[in-house]
């Protein structure tokens, strides 16, 4: 077997796995990494995104035009959840955990009651290409692009915009932020809604790759939490990139040679070891002298 196509295939698979982890965790990293809220309804908010995409595609809207609606519905759901429940639980981590777990159950059961056990799946766009005996899905390449774009966008918003700076200040010290004119309630609300919007958008983007069902969120929750916890909250962008990158780099070769199940087991072991070695997350590693 030629070595070049094999390496390209390995890189493609690693990037695909990394993009999946980034997409799964991107909303959670905002809510858990910045707000310290353990949102166990994260998977169900992703499911809402997939449902919006499926329902709108069924209504005749082209798939790519459904994605802004996935984001907007996620933002709306986030605003309602924050306004009704989360704002009373900011200093009560365990209460927020139990509440979001319950909300997740209600959302999933509600979807089952209203729409039944399945929604029509979405055809994977673009088709595939072949190179060196390996087949590459163009949509998976698109997912890699979307994951990179979202990370860049979040970096830009958090580091370079007034809203991002205010959100970061509020998450670090809400009381002091309020003394420099920042409305902390508004910032918490916006941040939670933005996290929910990103989760729903990720759910919509991943919808063509999976079965659209009420409990589909569970498949995203574990990888999302692992990525965020391994990455740590010191810096959510570098944390997510390091974490998704290293976990994908471990999972892919194992999966390629020993099968998908072994790859997943390898990922869990790698996560255990990384958490043991870097309890504050991979974001706490100083690569270039200072963060």
């Amino acid at each position: 077997m030629e070595i070049a196509p094999l390496i390209i295939s390995l890189v493609y698979q690693a990037l695909t796995a990394g993009a999946f982890l980034v997409l799964c965790s991107i909303g959670l990293m905002i809510v858990l990494g910045m707000m310290n809220i353990i949102n166990l309804a994260h998977g169900e908010i992703m499911m809402i995104g997939a449902y919006v995409a499926s329902l709108l595609v069924t209504e005749g809207l082209p798939f790519f035009l459904t994605l802004p609606f996935c984001f907007l519905v996620g933002v709306l759901v986030g605003l309602v959840i924050e306004f009704l429940f989360i704002r009373y639980l900011y200093s009560r981590i365990l209460s927020a955990l139990v509440l979001t777990w319950g909300l997740g159950l209600i959302i999933a059961q509600g979807a089952l009651l209203i729409y039944g056990p399945f929604l029509p799946s979405i055809k994977i766009p673009f088709g595939s290409i072949e190179y060196g005996g390996f087949t590459y899905s163009i949509y998976q390449l698109f997912l890699i692009f979307v994951a990179a774009l979202l990370v860049a966008l979040i970096y830009f918003i958090l580091q370079k915009t007034e809203l991002g700076l205010k959100a970061r200040a509020t998450m670090q010290n809400p009381e002091i932020a309020s003394t420099i004119g920042i409305n902390r309630k508004k910032m918490f609300s916006i941040t939670f809604a933005f996290g929910a919007g990103l989760a729903a958008l990720a759910g919509g983007v991943l919808a063509p790759t999976t079965t659209i069902a009420p409990f589909m969120g569970t498949q995203f929750v574990a990888p999302a939490f692992i990525t965020v916890v391994v990455g740590g909250a010191t810096n959510i962008i570098t944390g997510t990139l390091y974490s998704a990158g290293s976990l994908a780099a471990i999972r892919t070769p194992i999966g390629m040679y020993l099968g998908s199940f072994a790859g997943t087991v390898g990922l869990f072991f790698a996560a255990l070891i990384l958490i043991r070695l870097y309890p504050n997350g991979l974001a706490s590693i100083r690569l270039f002298g200072r963060r």
Partner: protein, 239 residues
């Protein structure tokens, strides 16, 4: 110079839960005046200023800014009306750079020209902040963090600045520098300042007069002669 009232309190009471810490404090801060609020640890000085800026609710009394009632407004609204606050312990955001702190403070002023004028003034007052502008605030020394906290509050262009224990945990030579900076920006910005501190030398070198607080109440008003008398001051501060 004809001085008018900037910030006034009338019989302000406040505390934590059912415990009253501040009892019937009335003060009057005039334009371009530096007023000390002095007393031992735990007498309610910080609780009083937190009540002024809306972080703690007043259970009784009235706070006015330029004659307008600001009692129990949200802290962000009070900040937008021109009250700058430098908290005890500095309250910097450790994961943000010096520049980001000044930007955040500056968002209170919508005029970008005014913002750059204030930034220039802050960097003139504290040149070290300019040198360290890309550095994370959490990695600065205590004195530099204090300068940053003052800079952040000044960047918003306040009418009155409240400094809570700026000398705490800061080297003596830096305390002197902070004292000089306080006098300097009062002069340049025509600011009113409330200074809470237990450092007798900082108080006597900077304030025009001071209220002495004990058990949550004002027990004496020290005029400009009295605040220059370090012996008298030390007695009040129980050093």
């Amino acid at each position: 110079m004809n001085q008018s009232s900037v910030l006034t309190t009338q019989d302000v009471c406040s505390g934590y839960g059912t415990a009253t810490v501040v009892r019937d404090i009335s003060v009057d801060i005039l334009t371009n005046e530096i007023v000390g609020i002095i007393g031992r640890n735990g007498v309610g000085k910080s609780t009083f200023v937190k009540t002024l800026i809306g972080l703690i609710r007043a259970s009784n009394g009235k706070v006015t800014l330029f004659g307008n009632d600001i009692t129990n407004l949200q802290p962000e609204l009070i900040a937008r009306k021109g009250v700058g606050y430098v908290p005890q312990g500095r309250g910097i955001f450790p994961g943000m750079t010096v520049n980001e702190h000044l930007l955040l403070g500056g968002y209170l002023q919508r005029d970008s020209k005014k913002r750059s004028k204030f930034n220039k003034l802050i960097f003139d007052l504290f040149p070290i902040l300019h040198e360290r502008r890309s550095q994370m605030a959490g990695s600065l020394s205590g004195g530099q963090q204090e300068m940053l906290a003052i800079g952040r509050a000044l960047a918003g262009g306040p009418e009155i600045l409240i400094l809570d224990e700026p000398s705490e945990g800061v080297q003596p030579n830096i305390v002197g520098q902070i004292g000089e900076a306080i006098l300097n920006f009062r002069k340049q910005l025509n600011l009113s300042i409330i200074l809470i501190d237990q450092n007798a030398s900082l108080i006597s070198n900077t304030v025009d007069r001071a209220y002495a607080v004990e058990k949550g109440s004002v027990v004496a008003m020290l005029d400009s002669d009295a605040v220059r008398d370090e012996e008298k001051l030390s007695k009040v501060l129980s050093i």
